[in-house]
């Protein structure tokens, strides 16, 4: 099967698109004439790699903008990678420039391809933001012709867009734009740390109303000796666009007793720089994972995708609870989709975590119960981690979607 990847080549992109295939890693090229003296160069020459997936031979070619007219190949294009390669962004997060670049430059071009090509065109937009591709203002699934295949990282979609787990997961790893891959290796080291000053950490980067609500719940029900709330210096910097909108909440927030301000802009080596995702993830790993046994993370309950918050905890094997049970349900749903048994979760079901804070207090006050809870939480987390990692080692969601489209005589 011939597959054209319409991006410039790097070995990281090979793994992002083609994890799970059978290939000798040393046959995945790394050094070329273009990048020999400059690691950051995206290679624009054609790169061919042979691999096998589920018994089928793959003839993979990274061709950048060439060969779009070929009717015999599958054509892969990733909206965010395009944005990265054109310098519109430096990680997956910023939607606006990425979306505008795609709408203006690519949608008219893709729609103009022949039908025989279009049906083999596979467009993925993995953004970690959870918007639907038919959402007003996004409109990508409406603007792109129906026969072009669309994929994203939303576990459920209201339109024709399909969820691809393995690429969604690998997008946090390769290309390694946000240093999330480091959390995978951090796992071996984090488990060596057994003594923590606090049992539970609620890390807040930006203070706003719903964070204040949870912090109030912590103040009301949990023992302040066991619990720490941190907030990032970013929240009162001029870069925080909602700074004035949430000023009242911020002032309230500052009254909490068990509060610690994390200075992102430390002196010299302690300066973690600007509010780019990579800087935040590096700060998170080195400065926030060593504070408490368990982190209480605050994912957006409305989104259907995973963000770097959940994924970095899973990669590092760092115990976490989520403010909303929906995140846990989302994880279980994916585990089910991947064909694994859904594990038992050691906490009772809740809407938001304040519902069970009295219960949590009982566990935290009793060392035996707390040990039992964290041990079960660890078991749950290890299971999730191993399911996710095993999947990206052996399966490829995009290829699984592409394969059924092959005529039977080719298979």
């Amino acid at each position: 099967m011939k597959i054209y990847v319409h991006h410039k080549y790097t070995y990281e992109l090979f793994w992002y698109f083609f994890h799970g295939v059978k290939v000798d890693p040393t046959k995945v090229p790394v050094v070329t004439e273009q990048n020999r003296y400059q690691v950051k160069i995206w290679n624009s020459n054609i790169h061919s790699i042979k691999a096998k997936y589920k018994g089928t031979d793959l003839d993979i070619k990274f061709v950048n903008d060439r060969f779009w007219e070929d009717e015999s190949a599958h054509h892969i294009f990733d909206v965010t990678i395009n944005s990265l390669q054109n310098g519109l962004s430096s990680d997956r997060m910023f939607i606006l420039p990425t979306m505008e670049g795609f709408k203006n430059d690519w949608i008219p071009f893709l729609n103009g391809l022949k039908y025989k090509v279009r049906k083999n065109v596979h467009i993925s937009w993995i953004s970690w933001e959870g918007f639907n591709l038919d959402e007003e203002g996004i409109d990508v699934s409406k603007l792109l012709k129906e026969d072009i295949n669309l994929y994203n990282d939303n576990v459920t979609n209201p339109d024709r867009t399909k969820y691809i787990f393995s690429q969604s997961f690998m997008s946090f790893i390769f290309p390694d734009t946000t240093a999330t891959r480091e959390y995978y290796f951090f796992y071996d080291w984090l488990k060596l740390k057994t003594e923590y000053e606090y049992k539970l950490l609620y890390p807040v980067r930006r203070v706003y109303d719903s964070k204040l609500y949870i912090a109030n719940g912590i103040k009301k029900d949990l023992n302040e000796n066991d619990t720490l709330i941190t907030y990032s210096s970013f929240t009162d910097s001029n870069h925080y666009i909602w700074k004035h909108q949430y000023e009242k909440d911020y002032n309230e927030f500052l009254k909490f007793p068990n509060l610690k301000r994390l200075e992102k802009r430390g002196y010299n080596i302690e300066d973690f720089g600007g509010e780019w995702m990579k800087n935040n993830m590096e700060e998170g790993m080195w400065k926030m994972f060593g504070l408490a046994e368990v982190n209480l993370i605050h994912e957006n309950p409305m989104t259907q995708c995973f963000s770097e918050k959940t994924i970095c905890h899973i990669l590092a094997g760092k115990l976490f609870l989520d403010v909303h049970y929906r995140t846990i349900q989302k994880i279980h749903k994916v585990i089910d989709l991947l064909g694994y048994d859904i594990p038992e979760y050691p906490l009772p079901e809740y809407d938001d975590i304040t519902d069970i804070m009295p219960w949590l207090r009982i566990q935290m006050d009793d060392e035996v119960k707390w040990k039992e809870l964290t041990s079960k939480l660890n078991e749950w987390l290890e299971y999730i981690r191993s399911c996710f990692l095993e999947t990206v080692k052996t399966k490829n969601s995009l290829l699984d979607e592409i394969f059924p489209k092959l005529p039977k005589n080719i298979i």
Partner: protein, 412 residues
């Protein structure tokens, strides 16, 4: 005092050039030009006020403009320039380094020095202290009014200086090879106490010398003394390394066994990619600091400079033993310059063969081994603490500027 920095602004470059100062305003990070892409050049001119040793300064990051302003000092860094024009991605060895000196850089800087006289400084820090071509070229052809800051303690002639603090900070900012992470890694490395070996001799690029050392170590048949070899050494595309690798590869593999072959090109998440300095340093941190209590390092700077091998270990607070006798002299020079007590390294008076034999013996005696490990650990911790104190409180370039100012005043 005004200092024109002829580079595109980044907060990392601010710290590289002006570490140890007291900023009088926030050090900016975000601009219109880099908000969505942190790798974009900041095309705005950026001024920051700071004090250093009670003197007020303003630094102006102004890339290629303002070269005609005679109201301040001008600085330019050769490697940063090549990073900016995307010829290179870190300071280490690179084919492009040095090629443009003769025809482009030196004539251009000499021309600028005609106007600016002694108000111009160039940093030439390439982590390659053994080059025998570049330094003499600079010595011979660069206008002697220009102050050249270099990273080697040899051939210091004319108006040349060594700013120890800039050399040290060059490994951290801009953080092109992931060395800054070693500093934070120290917080977790300290918890590890179940190493498989006492000593490991990690080889990345196999050479005759390293093969001989490895052979000698393996002759001891000492289970505490290990040798690892990176798969890079068998990397056929690199002619430079392949000659030695071909010659010794089979023999060394017989000695060390497959379990000590560090496969850089793993599957998927475990693929560390190509032989770039940043890939190597990341791989080393996560994989090779875990093997033994102490690493036996083959750094070939012999005291005239340093490279990332020893400094990464100091940053991570990881015990190490340099194979050469004088490797640590450079660090001693730094301590001496800033009036810190020099701590002797326990094995530094031993040549490399004697050192290896000594290590073999001492690793078989737990009491002696623990004493040695304590001494090495103390040395590394002392060095880490002292170097960071120096790096946070001194700035070699600014010190030189201030002393120049004072001497000028005296003359006047």
């Amino acid at each position: 005092m005004k200092i024109y920095v002829h580079h595109y602004y980044s907060y990392e470059l601010f710290w590289y050039f002006f570490h140890a100062v007291t900023p009088l305003e926030e050090i900016p990070t975000w601009f219109e030009s880099n908000r969505y892409n942190k790798n974009n050049k900041v095309r705005e001119e950026v001024s920051i006020k700071f004090t250093y040793k009670n003197i007020d300064f303003t630094c102006i990051f102004c890339f290629d403009s303002n070269w005609n302003n005679t109201d301040g000092y001008h600085i330019w860094d050769y490697t940063i320039h090549h990073l900016e024009i995307k010829k290179i991605s870190d300071r280490g060895w690179n084919e492009h380094i040095g090629n443009d000196l003769y025809d482009t850089i030196i004539p251009l800087m000499n021309k600028r020095a005609n106007l600016l006289k002694d108000k111009i400084s160039i940093f030439f820090i390439d982590w390659e202290t053994s080059d025998d071509k570049i330094t003499p070229t600079l010595n011979k052809l660069l206008n002697p009014n220009i102050t050249l800051y270099k990273d080697e303690l040899t051939h210091i002639e004319n108006n040349q200086k060594v700013s120890f603090t800039h050399i040290l900070w060059s490994f951290l900012y801009p953080n092109t090879i992931g060395l800054r992470e070693y500093y934070f890694f120290a917080d977790y490395l300290k918890y590890k106490n179940d190493y498989k070996y006492k000593i490991n001799y990690p080889i990345r690029r196999l050479s005759k010398q390293k093969f001989e050392v490895a052979t000698e170590i393996k002759k001891f048949n000492n289970p505490a003394f290990n040798v690892t070899l990176s798969s890079f050494t068998n990397y056929n595309d690199d002619e430079r390394t392949q000659k030695d690798a071909d010659k010794y590869f089979t023999s060394i593999m017989e000695l060390i066994g497959n379990e000590n072959y560090i496969n850089k090109r793993g599957y998927n998440l475990k693929d560390w990619g190509a032989e770039y300095n940043d890939n190597n340093m990341k791989e080393f941190m996560w994989k090779l600091l875990t093997i033994s209590e102490v690493n036996l390092l083959h750094e070939s700077t012999i005291g005239y400079g340093i490279n990332e091998k020893t400094f990464s270990h100091i940053l991570a607070n990881k015990p190490f033993i340099p194979i050469y006798k004088k490797t640590l002299n450079f660090y001693s020079e730094i301590l001496k310059t800033y009036n810190y007590k020099i701590k002797p390294f326990p094995l530094d008076d031993l040549g490399w063969w004697k050192k290896i034999y000594y290590l073999n013996n001492v690793s078989k005696d737990d009491v002696k081994w623990n004493i040695l490990m304590n001494e090495i650990t103390e040395y590394v911790s002392y060095m880490r603490k002292s170097l960071f104190e120096i790096m946070n409180t001194h700035n070699g370039y600014l010190d030189n500027l201030l002393s120049k100012q004072n001497s000028t005043k005296n003359i006047l």
